[in-house]
Symmetry: D4
Subunit: 169 residues, 8 copies
């Protein structure tokens, strides 16, 4: 099975955040791979990865990083594939990671999602792939319907709560 | 009993914050309802709710949300009823929720209260309703008097504390 | 003509911001008054004003202030009328005014609008008054319809712009 | 010519920022359209647009907004097409727009680019479309090569500068 | 014993922070009193306190408050005695309290100390009183000498630490 | 005439801010001196100044500085006289100066006033001196009365403004 | 063994952060010393230390401090040796320490590393010393190679994780 | 003349900031070179530069960048030479550049100076080089003496200012 999405992180300490991207891609049946790469500790491996990504059949790269988070931007500078950046909260409430990923200079965009929002990164990747994959588009549509379930369930629980002046549901 | 205030939240995880609005409305004998609605997961339900709110007899809507908190503003764009927004702290110390609710564009105000300040949202709703409900105004005035009790009690406790150079109380 | 809304500011240097509240109330035919009061320079006048506001027939108070902006909160502590706070940008990008108004302690809410958003404060006041004034509610509904005009006009202007790869409008 | 990218903004005051997206799409020969829509002033039009976007042949939506910037997120909640959000600086240095777009809740991602970075939004859209359009991919690769020209030219200019202790270039 | 410093707080929940001011004043033998007052819940008591402070023999007022912390500024507007403000961290990392106390408008200064720095507030009060009390000045000088003890002790502890490449102390 | 307040700044570029302290002290007839000292460029002069300040008859030191503003804190570490710190805005909106002055460690307080608020620093110095100078206390009381004049004048100007729905003043 | 790096901190409460600098210097066989000095509590000792540092054979000073962190800058003002500053998080998420160290005025640089990043301070010191010590340069090169090991190990761990749609590693 | 310091920037738009580093190095007679390199637009050139820097005789690299400023960190990951990072203000008041450079992950330090502080970067480079160049150390010592001149001159100017209550200088 050929991976079309590559999920990259700098160390396994980022795994609890980044595995949410893997889980949703798995649920949506999008083949993916997991890689450890560091913009600063393994710059050659990052370059090798980025330069060969398209030839290896990858379509989208999801890169998570914390602090001065250069990984998503560095990869984006070496490939024309869309790169989705996940800022990971490590210090300073995560502001360093958010700004280091979001504020890319002209010409080299990174599609940034919210702090620690790896699950949203996976969904965004699936949305991009759905543009030329109608079956995936269908699974995504089902997924979006499922999002309402939590809200419906919440309403049921709110109905249980008793107050004297609460109106009848 | 017809609800005049509707308290809205996106999920039951917001309930520990938002139930403070329900409690104070209950104490002030203002009929209210609790609803789960999500600007992003159930946009049709949000619209249906907002469009029919006035016809259903609602006077004021209290909406709490965290992160990129669109719920209060989206409802405000679909009704002329006053909407009170409660930013809920979820990440980034709550700055995202505060700014997403407070900084509404010209023409569509949201009456924003402090971070997690659902109790104040309930009091504010009661103040608005008191403009045409003198009995409620009386109960509110009593409530305001009660606020001093805590300060009086604090003074008594401070008087117990012993220091050599503390002046006689 | 009895004012039902009082617009308060600390000095005439705040007038360019705060007169937007006056203009929209004027357009919506809501009787209002303009006052200069300072939480720090005229504390007795502030108290006299706040204590008598309801008896004088006022329904809503709009208070704008910058820096350590205490005026809205101080007034809110002395009346049960709804107080709408307008943070005015003077220094530190306005963060001081936003937080000094928004983050009121439990029991004393201020309905805060966005930075310099006096026009939204006026609209919010009209929304509160509409709860018991159906004619004003009608004018507000007309106003809300008018908000779309700018967007429609924007669309027409966007249609004029020529690019080779722009789709036919 | 069928638009595949729709560039959306709330008013023509956002055009100086957002036309950079149009220009780069034009340069890359990607058919696009320009629309004025407001999450708060024209919620019905936003919904109509978002619900029909895919059927109309659109592939990607670029939405720019300032302040409490709800437009990108609201559209993302009503379509499975990828939505690229452009925070526009209007007040508070743009922090409100950045956080209102970036920090979307789980399930509804917005691919956020930097503050006022509409040009990067256009490039990101082209990167997504290139996944199934090899000719566009070629043009994008050419574009990326062109990015170096500015740096080469900068080097030539730096060589002109005279200092006694500057090494020979 | 006549109090010359009054330490004010809004509730006993602020006591763990504010008692540090009491402790250092006690150590320096400066007669003080402890009071609970709230700018918003007991505005009349605040006024009565501030207006009579000087006549009661008070010289300096130390006021601590959190959130939209109006207490120090409100008191400063009603007396010419120096008011020392202690921002107390309650939410938003304490930024709201810092800005609400520090950024007072022209004419009404509050001598602000760091976040939760009630001990420094007590020392600052003693420094002011020392201007006309040479015995207190002597005790303060002794206190300042004592500050070095902690650093000397730290040096001794650092000397115990063993590393191969640590130089001999 | 013996100076009792010393106003210190790092360079004449700070004079437009700091001369406001001189002006108000002059108006209140408090003898003062102006000095240029830099915590980083003239550390010996700073030490000489701080160590001899009390012996020279100085009572209070007002120190203004921008960026990583160490001057007020460094002086405070070398004297027991009260030091009033004025953060001066130079970069980063002034946040660096505010935090470098306000957040002094335990034992060495600096009485911090708002950003660029040298006038308030002068008033605060006068308030401290008034504790043992009843004539100055009288002039300060007169000054405080004068603060109301601006508000009264503002009210007169607001009365001139014409709107159809403005209530009669 | 003559220390060439001096690691300075204000109290032993900073040791858990600052000992990381000692550990890496020890690993790289760079002779160092540990000192407790406080810009505010022991200003004379700071001066004595800084003035004699070069004569004592020290080459580089690493100074860690929290809050209004003046220690690195004060030392830098009294020596021409490179000073590396380590902001230590104590309050306000560490923003006060970062800005008080980083934003030094023109003429007196401090080489600032990230929040709590004492280990990086030690590495930076070793990099500076390597400029004239080829053996140390060799050990540093080995160290840099070792940084990849963690990433390689991370990759092995990621390969263990099982998902249905995960590509074969 | 062999350059020992390389000053790098992404484009000539950064030159007005970065030439301050060149000027001070020139004044201190430190041979330097100026280069344009972009972490994102010319990643191969960055790598080639960084890998060969030491062999070419460079001792120190000064890299300036704005926004998500990856250049200093990327170079630091590819060489063991000390890298001095200069955050350049472009947007968001420069916070993005500060955090992207300062908050480097463990193992790869960047010696960060203040926002736009290229002159301090040059001085810091000279301080590092002085460790093994006593002539340069002498010129640096002279330079440091010169820093006082501005403060002395400021004092003379302050002496000219006339106020009635200004003490005799």
């Amino acid at each position: 099975m050929q991976a079309v999405v590559s999920i990259i992180m700098g160390s396994t300490s980022d795994l609890p955040v980044m595995e949410e991207a893997a889980k949703i891609l798995n649920d949506l049946r999008v083949p993916f791979e997991l890689n450890a790469l560091s913009a600063h500790r393994t710059p050659e491996e990052v370059e090798k990865f980025a330069r060969s990504a398209s030839d290896r059949g990858l379509k989208i790269i999801i890169a998570g990083a914390g602090m001065a988070a250069h990984l998503p931007g560095v990869i984006a500078s070496m490939t024309s594939l869309p790169v989705i950046g996940v800022p990971i909260k490590a210090t300073l409430e995560g502001w360093d990671a958010v700004l280091s990923i979001l504020q890319m200079p002209p010409g080299i965009p990174v599609a940034t999602v919210g702090l620690n929002a790896a699950r949203n990164a996976g969904i965004l990747a699936a949305q991009m792939l759905s543009l030329s994959d109608t079956e995936l588009a269908g699974r995504l549509a089902d997924f979006k319907k499922g999002l309402k379930a939590k809200v419906v369930k919440a309403n049921e629980e709110l109905r249980q709560i008793k107050f004297d002046y609460k109106a009848d549901a």
